[in-house]
């Protein structure tokens, strides 16, 4: 169908841009985002090829060297090569970020979907549970879990998951509620399909767009959170290189800024990558901006 109802902004006459420029503008951000992410993934995979050093090689005689041709990003307090640790650190940040978000999204979507589909008591209980999780001080929760289970990557991921699923549950619930009242779902009911089939085959595929946006935007969020917990000493077990703990190791070293500055910048770029991508996907899936 043709675009009859033009979106009404405030300018009555706007410059009509060329198709090429519009396309560039619309896709440049997500493409840049995707490129950043891909670049980091590649770095994570080929890390050993990029550096002559090992991330855990301690050499206290070469500590806190400023960036130079031998140590591109300098060395840290134990004389480890910051560049090497940084590129190896990509692995942990990327995987934890994705694992937390994907597992959290999976659990949340399932729970939220069930809540919306079951309604009544079940929905009430599930939604109150999300409220409960959200009203915890997250630090206490994370630290209590880490203290109870022990410090380590897996346990930190578990702690994050505990606070991570509710937002997906809420989103999934509202999405399913919207879809539930759609006529095509009623049509599926009239055909006699089972609730599980309706949920999985009809409702969830149609709710997936906003979920994908949230997942993409949230990976960055998870990476930051994980790094933050590492910064507080709850993340990985040394000597595993991890960006948050690298910043933490260098946070007192204002004059040896390279120790903290580079890993932090790495976090910024990768999170920016996911945000660019997520923002782009949002624009792209949003029917209103699609018509531009």
């Amino acid at each position: 169908m043709s675009a009859v109802d033009a979106p009404l902004g405030l300018r009555s006459v706007a410059p009509i841009q060329s198709k090429l420029r519009r396309g560039l503008r619309r896709y440049s951000l997500p493409v840049i985002g995707a490129l950043i992410i891909i670049a980091w993934i590649v770095v994570a995979i080929i890390a050993p090829l990029l550096s002559p050093y090992l991330p855990s090689t301690v050499d206290v005689t070469a500590r806190l060297r400023p960036p130079s041709s031998t140590h591109w990003l300098g060395t840290d307090v134990l004389g480890r090569d910051v560049f090497t640790r940084l590129i190896y650190g990509t692995r942990i940040s990327l995987t934890t970020g994705m694992v937390v978000v994907l597992v959290g999204a999976f659990i949340g979507t399932l729970v939220g979907g069930i809540a919306a589909y079951a309604r009544g008591r079940v929905e009430e209980v599930i939604m109150r549970a999300t409220d409960l999780v959200l009203c915890f001080p997250p630090i206490i929760l994370a630290m209590a879990i880490a203290a109870a289970l022990g410090i380590g990557t897996t346990n930190t991921i578990i702690a994050m998951l505990v606070v991570w699923w509710p937002k997906f549950a809420r989103l999934a619930r509202s999405l399913v509620l919207v879809q539930r009242s759609q006529e095509y779902v009623e049509a599926a009911v009239v055909i006699g399909l089972s609730p599980a089939r309706i949920l999985l085959r009809h409702i969830i595929p149609n709710s997936i767009g906003p979920l994908i946006i949230l997942v993409t935007l949230d990976v960055g969020n998870a990476i930051i959170t994980f790094a933050g917990l590492s910064f507080l000493g709850l993340g990985v077990i040394p000597p595993t290189p991890e960006w948050g703990s690298m910043v933490s190791e260098g946070r007192e070293l204002i004059e040896q800024w390279w120790v903290a500055a580079f890993p932090g910048f790495a976090i910024l770029t990768i999170v920016l990558g996911f945000n660019f991508l997520g923002d782009g996907i949002r624009d792209w899936l949003d029917p209103r901006s699609r018509r531009r």
Binding site: I140, L141, P263, G264, I267, R288
Partner: protein, 336 residues
Amino acid sequence: MPQYILSRLVLLFVMALLATLVIFLLANMVPGDPVLAQLGDLAASNKEFVAEWRAKWGLDLPLWQRYLIFLQQLSHGDLGISIASQRPVLQDVRDFAPATLELASVSFALSLIVGIPLGIMAAVRRDSWIDHLARLISLIGVSSPTFWLAFILLAVFYGGLQIAPGPGRIDSIGLPPPSVTGLYLLDSALAGDWATFRDAAAHLVLPSIVLAAATLGLITRTTRASMLECMQQDYVRVARAKGLRSRRIVIGHILPNALIPIVTLGGLAYANLLTGAVLTETIFSWPGLGRYTFRSAVSLDFPAIMGITLIVAVVYLIINLVIDVSYALLDPRVVR
């Protein structure tokens, strides 16, 4: 409406208690003994002494009894004595909360004052340079790890350029103003002590920028999206057909509608600022609730943990309630 608020308050109370119960059980799963961490090496090895100290905080009682005692104390408005600081939790909170409140409020105000106009301009001048700028600012804002941003700002403006004051609420040798509210800006203004006021304000600049970064990004983005959404509503076209000026349409017609979702987001963001400033507070040596929370959790300070959980939950839920109530005030369609 009063009916509604009343039942929400009842629910709030139940939820907050549930939160403390969950934290209580979780914290008790930790094998460590908070008393041992507080004692010197000699005392920690004296079994009787340790037992006596454990009894002092009721740690020797069965779980359910300890929780009941907590509830009982709570009914008298008493949150117990902190193990780590050895004074009433409530007093600790009273000491630490104003610092966080001040920082969070200033950051929040900052992100609103910058974020909303920026979002509005980005929406009105969609696809112009200001839109791109706003997008960049907000994306970088939400993408920056707080602890790193804090480090960079401190390194550049404090360590390098030396144009910003260092960590802490006031200068290292300055005296805090006489405590009325605990908020230095307010207290120094009340006391007419403008030097301290300027000092406290200067110390707020960097941490509040750091803390505001993510919120600012969020608010800018939401404002823009909300404005765009509202700009496509029929009533905007009607307003244009009425012959109103653009400014009037934006401020008088679009904004009141666009603000509604920002209330929710802003409220939640404020709640998060209040409860989630640990990293910023750590780096800026800000004597606030975030660091207190962190310290209590690290030292497994049960009374403090329970108290903070309760307070945070109540604050969070009250802010949620306020959001809903202001929703009803902002949006006449919501009738309770």
